[in-house]
């Protein structure tokens, strides 16, 4: 098959192939931009590379290749996450040349940073050592700070970038501090060793607990879990929309990936063994998940700016996904991974429409969306689909993935344990709350009268990207088996 061909050709380097493709791009974009001086050429070059990487990753995922080279572990899990990141990246690149928000003067730097950040993400999800994970996270974070700051003439963007960098720096410090303590106690930075140490523990060494909590707080910033979420709305609002998409969908998933690889691995043995240490952390995750989704949804109700509303809604979505950290069964992991994947299309799609409308001169306030259905029926309908999918309305992708996720909290086949039923209930109640603020946008678009009745025309590339999202939001809702099997395979690795 194709993967055999790849392995024959590239040998061990196949494990690094997607990263190499992206690295070629990241290193060559500034040069290409300098010599060719045409934005469209750089854009096309970037698009070709990212699609190539996406195809390579998909082939490796479908064939379920497992290999290891230079500390990079290629597995169904890493290819699944890779597919997620590369899908986001390709959607973002697709619209970058059409968006008026992305600064054209710096398109070389812009694509380089995007690709650099993506390499970091791919690296994180194929690592199994605290230090390499840390390096990957930093690569992504530092590129992201610069990406937010690229929208230079805008005061909000500068503020957002500074805020993001300071908070990111703090989270880095916390993480490192935590890692040093964990290393001090366990004597290793390899997660498998730490997990074995934790599973064998009888009592709870407090210094290890503090170390893990520090790491939890540090990485909690990355996924914007409450109470470490304050930066997210400001940053998503300040950044240009393509960058917001990238942060809200890909960057956040990297953080969740870290949660899976570090904390899940660390505790799954302890939980199976039934130690207090493991169970305590299960409850911590459950409480963080419940608070994160509740705060995200409740605060979103009051947001007049649609980007901020979407930011809070993605905080809430991270809360749903954290359910898998509390439940810790293979079903829950598969459902969590699947929800991450559907989230890409629904949240990405919603942000894409916001970005497209900004290009067409529509504001970011929900009140600017009044009468939109008359001005652009197709986009209004697509937006309605994305928002309904986020709210979990059948038969869209968000419903199906939430269904699996919440079902996994209730029990496993043959056993309805009841331990996490309350968490499922909180989550389901939250979905009900969320419909309230999504419905407000739908109402503005369809029922309220707008001042402007002029037809809207948006760039073609936005339409293509939005169409891709619409297709997947429907297809994954009606036919989740398309991806769910791979999510199960990925969860099997854990």
């Amino acid at each position: 098959m194709l993967s055999d061909f790849m392995i024959d050709t590239f040998g061990d380097l196949t494990a690094l192939l997607t990263m190499i493709i992206l690295a070629i791009g990241a290193l060559s974009f500034p040069a290409v931009q300098m010599f060719v001086k045409k934005h469209t050429v750089t854009w096309a070059y970037a698009l070709i590379l990212v699609v190539l990487a996406l195809v390579v990753d998909a082939i490796l995922m479908v064939d379920g290749i497992e290999m290891e080279y230079l500390g990079v572990r290629l597995s169904p899990y890493s290819t699944f996450m890779g597919l997620l990141f590369l899908t986001v990246l390709s959607l973002v690149v697709l619209v970058s040349n059409a968006s008026i928000e992305t600064t054209r003067n710096h398109s070389g730097a812009y694509y380089s940073l995007l690709f650099g950040a993506s390499i970091g993400m791919l690296f994180v999800t194929s690592s199994y050592d605290l230090l390499t994970i840390f390096v990957g996270v930093e690569l992504t974070s530092i590129s992201s700070y610069a990406l937010v700051a690229l929208k230079r003439k805008d005061g909000r963007a500068s503020e957002a970038a500074v805020k993001y960098a300071i908070i990111g720096g703090m989270s880095t410090a916390l993480t490192l501090y935590g890692i040093s303590m964990v290393y001090g106690v366990t004597g290793s930075t390899t997660i498998a060793d730490i997990a074995a140490y934790v599973a064998a523990l009888d009592d709870t060494p407090w210094i290890l607990a503090i170390g893990v909590l520090c790491m939890l707080a540090g990485y909690g910033f990355k996924i914007a879990a409450v109470p470490f979420h304050m930066w997210a709305p400001d940053v998503y609002e300040g950044a240009s929309t393509p960058v917001s998409i990238f942060l809200a969908t890909a960057s956040k998933k990297m953080g969740l990936g870290v949660f899976i690889q570090v904390f899940l691995f660390m505790f799954v043995g302890a939980v199976t063994a039934g130690t207090i240490f493991g169970e305590t952390f299960q409850y911590i995750f459950a409480i963080v998940a419940a608070i994160t989704m509740t705060v995200g949804n409740v605060v979103a109700i009051a947001q007049p700016n649609i980007k901020r509303m979407l930011a809070y809604s993605s905080i809430a979505q991270a809360g749903y996904i954290l359910i898998m950290m509390a439940v810790m069964t293979p079903n829950a992991e598969a459902a969590g991974l699947f929800h991450m994947f559907t989230h890409v299309f629904m949240k990405g799609g919603a942000f894409l429409i916001v970005g497209a409308l900004i290009c067409a001169g529509v504001g970011e306030k929900i009140s600017d969306y009044k009468g939109l259905a008359k001005r652009t029926p197709v986009l209004a309908f697509a937006m309605m689909l994305f928002l309904f999918s986020l709210a979990g309305i059948p038969p869209l992708a968000g419903f199906t993935s939430k269904f699996f996720l919440f079902a996994s909290a209730v029990g496993t086949p043959g056993e309805a344990s009841g331990e996490w039923v309350w968490l499922a209930f909180v989550a389901i109640l939250n979905s009900a709350i969320s419909l309230y603020y999504y419905a407000r946008v739908v109402k503005a678009m369809y029922i309220e009268k707008g001042e402007c009745t002029e037809k809207i025309k948006v760039p073609a590339m936005f339409m293509v990207a939005i169409a891709i999202c619409v297709v997947f939001v429907i297809v994954l809702g009606v036919y989740p088996d398309l991806i769910f099997g791979f999510a199960e395979a990925a969860a099997g690795m854990i």
Binding site: P394, P395, V410, K443, I447
Partner: protein, 504 residues
């Protein structure tokens, strides 16, 4: 495999999508699209009802839809004596509502019709589904259009009412969802994938109970979760408060569908899922069900007397009449369930008339406040006639359909309490009959008869429009037809109840 059942869902779906995109200059056409597609659905439903497509058992459709290591979900549709009546009622009322609305023009007409058609999709799905996953999806699909219908096209307090409706029914359906999860998980051995089809879950639970893997306590807990979900939808006291608000604010068309077919989803769920899949748990909760039913009947009836808004009064009478359905179900006997189902059907027809008439009062006269009305019969004779027919049918006048819904249920309840030796409980039923007759006659007396009211300006009041007249006439004929020939519906119900009695 035949596609008849699927087409009952697909036809309205196509109608909904077409109507949604008929904005701007084509807006006026959207109503005809809705009428066309709902008429086609009704034709299909009627042909299905009279057996043109063959026996119900042969019409089932089932495809494996989603399959992974923990779940198997099916796209499975089935029809039997219980669901066919509900399918017919849905198709009928949706068409009638579409025709009824022709006399009135509203802004954003196309969305209005898209919502009605979307509701039909969900309702058909709920009544035809033979898989819990599909059932739940369709259950939710009915909820969303109704929410928008109230909050976009409703009266002055529509936002409050819509959100109240949404919170109550959605939270209830979420409890139901958790019940479905638990039920699914219990129905299989560890390591097996949960098959969500009605049949598989039912068998799994029966086997589990037989082998003792599932305790009686667990199964009655699951029963309670699901029952709660359905009970709020019906609605039963004390979770009824969303209904009067929703009805008062909803447009007439929404009220008709809400009371006519959506409330029946609750009682349908109780019979189809709670009773059929967990008969032993139903025995366990029997007295609770009966108590809830009696409280709903009496409280609903008392609530009616206190109302000054005609529509709110009818809403409370729905609570009372749905309590009657619950009472029949609670008897867990052949007669009880048979006539409970008949009452669902009868109430669907009658309540549609009631809400149309009361909604018209608001449009034609300008207010629905009973104290402000009076002597309308002289000025609006046709309207008054229909109102009288509807009220009489609802209070259970022999010869009209309501009688067969109410009286035999009370008979069945009498049989039950006789066997339990608590005959004095019949007092509650007597009380309810008296109260029902009382509030309807009193309301009629105050609105239609007596001297013409001076409190409001009646100069603009006009009698029913052509389309409204046609719709009300059709409903009146059906109300009388099934009143003199209840067997027309009972023959289907008997088929189903015979089967159900075998299960219990």
């Amino acid at each position: 495999m035949s596609m008849i059942l699927s087409s009952l869902i697909i036809v309205p779906l196509v109608g909904a999508i077409l109507a949604l995109f008929m904005g701007g200059s084509r807006e006026k056409l959207s109503k005809y699209v809705a009428i066309g597609f709902s008429a086609a659905t009704l034709v299909l439903a009627v042909l299905l009802l009279i057996g043109v497509f063959g026996d119900f058992e042969d019409l089932g459709e089932g495809y494996e839809w989603i399959k992974n290591s923990s779940f198997i979900m099916n796209y499975a549709l089935e029809v039997d004596g219980l669901s066919i009546l509900m399918v017919f009622l849905t198709a009928l009322l949706v068409l009638l509502v579409n025709v009824f609305s022709l006399d009135e023009h509203r802004e954003n007409n196309n969305y209005f019709y898209a919502l009605i058609m979307a509701m039909e999709v969900g309702l058909m799905g709920v009544y035809l589904a033979a898989d819990y996953f599909l059932f739940y999806i369709m259950w939710e699909v009915t909820l969303i259009p109704m929410y928008f219908m109230i909050s976009w096209y409703g009266g002055p307090r529509r936002h409050y009412s819509a959100i109240k409706f949404f919170i109550y029914t959605h939270v209830a359906s979420l409890v139901m969802l958790i019940g479905i999860f638990v039920m699914g998980y219990l129905s299989v051995e560890p390591g097996e994938a949960v098959n969500f089809s009605f049949e598989a879950v039912k068998e799994g639970l029966a086997v589990g109970l037989l082998t003792g893997v599932i305790s009686e306590g667990t199964i009655s807990l699951v029963f309670a979760l699901l029952f709660f979900g359905f009970m709020v939808k019906m609605p039963s006291v004390p979770f009824h408060t969303w209904l009067p608000d929703a009805h008062t604010e909803a447009p007439t068309e929404g009220s008709v569908l809400l009371a006519g077919v959506m409330l029946k989803m609750g009682s349908y769920g109780i019979i189809r899922i709670c009773i059929e899949a967990m008969p032993t748990a139903a025995q366990y909760w029997q007295w609770v069900i009966i108590a809830i039913a009696l409280v709903s009947i009496i409280y609903g009836a008392y609530g009616c007397i206190a109302q000054t808004d005609l529509k709110k009064m009818v809403a409370f009478s729905s609570i009372s009449h749905m309590g009657m359905v619950m009472l029949g179900i609670g008897c867990l006997s052949d007669a009880g369930i048979t006539f409970a189902v008949f009452q669902m059907f009868a109430h669907g027809l009658i309540t549609a008339m009631l809400f149309m008439v009361c909604g018209m009062t608001g449009h034609k006269v300008g207010t629905r406040e009973i104290p402000l009305l009076g002597g309308l019969a002289g000025r609006m004779p046709i309207y008054a006639t229909f109102m009288m027919i509807a009220f009489m049918a609802s209070l259970g006048l022999p010869g009209l359909v309501g009688f067969w819904g109410e009286f035999p249920v009370i008979m069945a309840f009498y049989e039950f309490i006789k066997s339990e030796e608590v005959i004095w409980m019949i007092v509650f039923c007597m009380l309810s009959l008296m109260l029902t007759a009382g509030y309807y006659l009193w309301a009629m007396q105050r609105t239609l008869f007596g001297p013409e009211t001076k409190k409001i300006d009646l100069s603009k009041a006009h009698d029913v429009g052509h389309f409204e007249f046609a719709v009300l006439l059709v409903l009146s004929i059906l109300v009388a037809f099934f009143g003199v020939w209840p067997d027309g519906a009972l023959q289907f119900i008997d088929q189903y109840v015979d089967f159900l009695m075998g299960v219990i």
